[in-house]
C-alpha cells in the first residue's frame, strides 16, 4: 500500500471515528447518569437527517439554516423522549425502562418508515462539500476535512464544558452519584434534561455530517451507527466522555483499516464492532478508561 493511500485511509478512518464519537458521547452521558441504554439515540440520529432533508427540500431553506433548525428540533425530540418515556419510570426496576427505551426506538423507526417511506433518499449536499482538495500531495474529498474541522472543536468544547463549568460539574456529580448529588442541591431533572439536549444535539450534528459523508438517508439508518456508537462507549469505558471519544476514533480507524488491508473481509465490516465488544467485555469489561465500580443495593 502506498503512503498516499494509507493517509487517505487514515483521514477516512478519523472522519468516521469522529462521527461515531459524536453519537457515542450521547449514549455515555445518558448511561452515566441514568444507568440506561438509550436505544432511541440511533433513531434521534436518523430523525435529525430527515429534519435537515425536509428543511432543504420542502421548505427550500438554505442549508445552514436548515441544519440549525434540524439540530434544535432534534434536541427537542430527545428531551421529549426523556420526559414522556423515561421520567415516569425512573423509580421502577431497570428492565421496564429498558423496554420503554427499545419501544420508543422501534416506534420512531417505524414511524419514520410510515411517514418518510422505506425508499432511501438522496441527501442534497452543499456544493463545496463535493469538491476534492489536495493537501500536501494527498488528494482528499472536502467532506472529510469539513467533518474533522467541525467535529473536533465540538468534542473539545464539550470536554471544556464538562470540566470547566459549574453545569458540567453538576453533570459529572450526577453521574458519579445520583442520590448524593441531589442532596448537594443539584436539580437533577434539569441536569438530565440538559444531558438529553446536549446528547441529541451532538447526535444531530453527527447525523447531518453522516449525511454529507454517506448522502443517502433511510428510516433504518440509525440502527447500525447507533449500535456501533454504543459499543464505542463501552469500549472506551461507559460513563466516561473522553473514553467514548477514544472508542469512536478507535472503531472508525479499525473499520476503515480492516477493509483497506483485508479487502476479502469487507462483507464482515459491520461484524467487526461486535467482535470488539465481546473482546473488551472479556478482557477489560470496564473499558479502556473506565474505573471499577461496585454495585450497591
Amino acid at each position: 500500500m502506498s503512503l498516499e493511500l494509507f493517509f487517505q485511509n487514515l483521514i477516512n478512518g478519523l472522519t468516521l471515528g469522529s462521527l461515531y464519537a459524536l453519537i457515542a458521547v450521547g449514549y455515555t452521558m445518558v448511561y452515566g447518569i441514568l444507568r440506561l441504554i438509550n436505544f432511541a439515540h440511533g433513531e434521534v440520529f436518523m430523525f435529525s437527517t430527515y429534519f435537515a432533508f425536509f428543511g432543504i427540500m420542502i421548505f427550500t431553506l438554505p442549508w445552514y439554516i436548515s441544519f440549525i433548525i434540524a439540530i434544535i428540533l432534534t434536541s427537542m425530540l430527545g428531551v421529549t423522549i426523556e420526559k414522556v418515556a423515561y421520567r415516569p419510570l425512573r423509580k421502577t426496576p431497570k428492565v421496564y425502562v429498558l423496554i420503554s427505551a427499545i419501544g420508543v426506538s422501534f416506534f420512531l423507526q417505524n414511524l419514520g418508515l410510515v411517514l418518510f417511506g422505506g425508499r432511501p433518499r438522496a441527501f442534497p449536499r452543499p456544493e463545496f462539500i463535493r469538491t476534492t482538495m489536495t493537501i500536501a500531495g494527498i488528494r482528499v474529498s472536502a467532506v472529510f476535512i469539513v467533518i474533522l474541522i467541525i467535529v473536533i472543536p465540538i468534542l473539545i468544547g464539550l470536554l471544556f464544558f464538562l470540566y470547566k463549568t459549574k453545569l458540567g460539574l453538576a453533570m459529572r456529580a450526577a453521574s458519579w452519584n445520583y442520590d448524593v448529588s441531589r442532596l448537594m442541591g443539584i436539580d437533577i431533572d434539569r441536569v438530565i434534561s440538559l444531558t438529553f439536549i446536549i446528547g441529541s444535539a451532538l447526535a444531530a450534528v453527527g447525523g447531518i455530517m453522516w449525511a454529507q459523508r454517506f448522502p443517502e438517508i433511510n428510516p433504518i439508518m440509525g440502527l447500525f451507527p447507533g449500535m456501533k456508537a454504543f459499543i464505542c462507549a463501552v469500549f472506551g469505558g461507559i460513563g466516561n466522555i473522553g473514553g467514548a471519544m477514544l472508542g469512536g476514533i478507535c472503531l472508525g480507524l479499525a473499520e476503515i483499516m480492516l477493509v483497506a488491508f483485508l479487502p476479502g473481509l469487507s462483507g464482515y465490516r459491520d461484524a467487526f464492532a461486535f467482535i470488539m465488544l465481546i473482546t473488551i467485555l472479556l478482557v477489560k469489561p470496564t473499558g479502556l478508561l473506565g474505573e471499577k465500580t461496585v454495585v450497591k443495593a
Binding site: 422501534f106 410510515v114 461484524a271 461486535f274 465481546i278 467485555l281 470496564t286
Partner: protein, 358 residues
C-alpha cells in the same frame, strides 16, 4: 386428599381440552386459520423462553431473532434431502458433510435447540460477567451481526438467497406439542429451586448473592434455556413456512416476542400464553390495514409498516400505564379459578392465594 387429586388432574384436563380443540380444528378450520394456530403454538414456546429471562430473571435479552435464525437454518439444512440441497445451493454448493446427511425432524429440532443454546451461552457469558444491562446490547448486536454473517457464508446458508423447498414437516401436533412442553417445563422451573433463585435475582441481586445464589451461573442457565427454546421455535417456523432468508430474522421479530411477554404480564406463564395468542393473531388481523381497503367504489390505500407502529406504540403505552400487563404476576391455576368461583358464590375458602399452578 381430594384437593390433591384435583390439583393433579387440572393440567392434564386443560391439555386434553386444548388437544380436542386442535383435533377438531385440524379437520374443520381453513388452511389459513390452521396456519395462524401453528404460529400461535410456536410463539407461545418462544415467548415463554423470553419470559424466563426478561420476566423471571429480570435481565433484558434482545436476541430472540438471532437464536431463531440459528434454529431455523440448522433444522432446514438437516432435514432437506440431498437432491433438493443440490438444487437450492446452485451458486455455491453446500460444504462437504452437510450436503449428504438428512436427519429426521425431531433430532434436527433437538440439534437446533442445542446449537442456539450454545450460542446463547457464548453471548451471555461476556455480558453477565460485568454489567447485565450489557446483555441487551450483546444480544441485539449478535442478532443483527448474525444476519450479516449468514448473508456472507454462502456455502452454508446460501447467502441472501435463503433456503427454499424446506420440507413442510411442521403441523399442529408439533407446534402445540412444543407449546405444551414449554408450558410444563416453565411450571416445573418456576416452582423449583432454580425458579425461586432467579426470582430472587430479579427482586434484589445483591441480597440474592448474599443468600448464596450463584448469580452468574443462574443468569446464564436461564439465558441458555431461553436461547434453546427460541432455536427450536425457529426450527418449527422454518419448516412451517418452507422458505427462510437472513432478512426474515430481523429486529421486528424480536420485538413481536417482547410485546407478547410484556402484554401478558412479565413473569406470568399464563400471561405469556395469552400475550402470545393475542399478538400472534393480531399480527394477522392487522395485516388488513397495510393493504388497500375497498369500500363501495372508494379505495383507501393501505399503510405499509403501520402494524409495527401500532405494536411499538402499544408496548410503550403498556409499559408506561399498565406495567403489570394482563395477568401481572398471577397464574391461571385450579386454585385461582376455585377461589374466583367461591368469591362469586360468597363462600370464602380457607386457603387463599392465587399464585402458582400446582
Amino acid at each position: 386428599m381430594i384437593e390433591k387429586i384435583y390439583n393433579r388432574l387440572f393440567i392434564p384436563i386443560v391439555i386434553i381440552i386444548v388437544g380436542l380443540f386442535l383435533y377438531w380444528g385440524n379437520s374443520n378450520l381453513t388452511g389459513y386459520q390452521i396456519r395462524i394456530l401453528n404460529l400461535i403454538g410456536i410463539y407461545i414456546g418462544i415467548a415463554l423462553g423470553l419470559n424466563l429471562v426478561n420476566g423471571l430473571t429480570g435481565q433484558f435479552s434482545l436476541g430472540v431473532a438471532g437464536f431463531m435464525a440459528i434454529g431455523a437454518y440448522t433444522t432446514a439444512i438437516l432435514t432437506m434431502s440431498p437432491q433438493i440441497k443440490q438444487m437450492v445451493y446452485f451458486i455455491d454448493p453446500l460444504i462437504s458433510p452437510l450436503d449428504r446427511i438428512q436427519w429426521g425432524f425431531l433430532p434436527a429440532l433437538l440439534m437446533a435447540g442445542l446449537l442456539s443454546g450454545f450460542a446463547a451461552l457464548l453471548i451471555g457469558w461476556p455480558a453477565f460477567k460485568f454489567r447485565d444491562d450489557y446483555l441487551a446490547v450483546t444480544t441485539l448486536g449478535f442478532a443483527e451481526i448474525l444476519r450479516v454473517i449468514f448473508t456472507n457464508t454462502r456455502s452454508i446458508t446460501n447467502g441472501a438467497l435463503g433456503l427454499k423447498a424446506i420440507p413442510e414437516t411442521t403441523n399442529l401436533a408439533w407446534t402445540w406439542g412444543f407449546a405444551i412442553i414449554c408450558v410444563l417445563l416453565m411450571i416445573r422451573l418456576k416452582n423449583s429451586n432454580f425458579g425461586r433463585s432467579i426470582i430472587a435475582i430479579r427482586e434484589n441481586e445483591v441480597a440474592a448473592e448474599a443468600m448464596g445464589i450463584p448469580l452468574f451461573y443462574y443468569k446464564n442457565l436461564a439465558h441458555v434455556i431461553a436461547g434453546a427454546m427460541a432455536g427450536v421455535g425457529g426450527g418449527l417456523l422454518g419448516n412451517l413456512i418452507t422458505t427462510i432468508d437472513p432478512n426474515m430474522f430481523r429486529f421486528p421479530l424480536t420485538f413481536t416476542v417482547l410485546l407478547m411477554v410484556v402484554i401478558g404480564g412479565m413473569g406470568s406463564i399464563t400471561g405469556t400464553v395469552i400475550g402470545a395468542t393475542l399478538v400472534a393473531s393480531s399480527l394477522e388481523i392487522l395485516r388488513r390495514i397495510e393493504e388497500p381497503i375497498h369500500i363501495l367504489n372508494l379505495t383507501i390505500p393501505g399503510i405499509p409498516g403501520m402494524r409495527m407502529v401500532i405494536f411499538a406504540g402499544t408496548l410503550v403505552i403498556v409499559i408506561l400505564f399498565y406495567r403489570t400487563g394482563i395477568m401481572g404476576e398471577k397464574e391461571f391455576s385450579r386454585k385461582a379459578v376455585w377461589n374466583k368461583l367461591n368469591k362469586i358464590f360468597k363462600q370464602s375458602s380457607p386457603d387463599g392465594g392465587e399464585n402458582n399452578a400446582s
